[in-house]
């Protein structure tokens, strides 16, 4: 399916958000995810079913002021 991931369109074979993270080699307990503007908690990623054109944000810690 085609998704918009962090602002870029990508084709990824993934049924759930957890599948998508795994397919793209994202790992670590410091990641936060949102789909279509709504937070998806870490524990819900395995059951969160994705749809075509979903907008997915994957954020991680960085330096800030």
């Amino acid at each position: 399916m085609t998704f918009t991931i962090n602002g870029e369109e990508q084709d990824v074979a993934a049924a759930t958000l957890a599948d998508l993270l795994s397919a793209l080699d994202y790992e670590g307990d410091w990641l936060a995810t949102a789909v279509n503007g709504e937070l998806v908690h870490r524990e819900d990623r395995g059951t969160f079913t994705l749809g075509a054109r979903d907008r997915i944000e994957i954020l991680s810690p960085m330096q800030g002021g």
């Binding site: 962090n6 990641l31 503007g37 937070l39 991680s60 810690p61 002021g65």
Partner: protein, 257 residues
């Protein structure tokens, strides 16, 4: 001790973690500042989580409390979602709430700020709002549930120091029981000392330390200045006078003519 929501800290310097020459310099600056709270942020991860992971580990090793921010957010919706994602990552209800209203000055959108503060407070967040020195906005932030206020003293990163000391004094006088942290615009330790002298509870800094020639030494200089300003405030400084007042007593002075 400074109490911010339900947490007591000794240090009155909150330090940002951005723009340092290297992670090692950042770590040394945090140590020499004796800061117990550092600000952090979230950004899109493009390296499979590895880039953010390295920074996350560095912060963990420093053993400090984190205050995540919503820097770069220009709408209530963006700020609220970023705050929720920050809570997911950093496992804290604290959020330094920034809703930016102007690209050039990075002035907060105070209308959006109040709205976002209300939403986040209702969701259990403990909000540290980056605001202006406007008293009415501050009242609205308190009504929205904020228990800390963080007025700017000049635009972010400008290093100008307090451009309107009278407004900062009025702000302090108007909110005697609310922890007040000057956030943004400080450039030199003397600026930090001056706001502490007028009774501010703490100072939040980033660029003034990170952009210095020797960030770690500057971090220590700020820590000393903040302590000096705090001590001076407690010691009740003199008010300025229009006329000279001789410091040497004139009684008993010899008369030669």
């Amino acid at each position: 001790m400074l109490k911010l929501y339900d947490v007591e800290v000794q240090s009155r310097l909150l330090l940002g973690t951005a723009r340092y020459p290297s992670p090692a310099v950042l770590a040394e600056a945090v140590r020499r500042s004796k800061a117990e709270i550092v600000t952090v942020s979230l950004r899109r991860e493009t390296a499979g989580g590895k880039g953010g992971g390295a920074f996350f580990e560095l912060i963990r090793e420093l053993g400090v409390r984190v205050l995540p921010n919503t820097a770069g957010c220009h709408s209530v919706q963006e700020a609220v979602l970023t705050a929720k994602m920050a809570r997911e990552v950093f496992r804290t209800d604290w959020i330094k709430l920034e809703v930016i209203g102007h690209h050039d000055t990075l002035q907060p959108d105070v209308f959006g700020l109040v709205e976002a503060a209300r939403i986040l407070t209702d969701e259990g967040f403990q909000v540290f709002p980056y605001t202006t020195d406007d008293l009415v906005v501050a009242e609205k932030l308190l009504e929205a549930g904020c228990r800390v206020l963080m007025p700017w003293c000049a635009p972010i990163g400008s290093a100008m120091g307090p451009v309107n000391p009278m407004a900062l004094r009025t702000f302090r006088a108007h909110f005697p029981d609310i922890p007040l942290i000057v956030d943004a615009g400080i450039g030199r330790p003397s600026h930090a000392a001056s706001v502490m002298e007028i009774g501010y509870d703490a100072v939040l800094l980033n660029t003034a330390v990170a952009g210095a020639g020797d960030p770690a030494a500057m971090a220590e200089a700020f820590a000393l200045a903040i302590d000096a300003g705090r001590l001076a405030h407690a010691a009740i400084p003199l008010e300025p006078r229009d006329m000279a007042v001789p410091s040497t007593p004139v009684i008993g002075k010899a008369v030669f003519s």
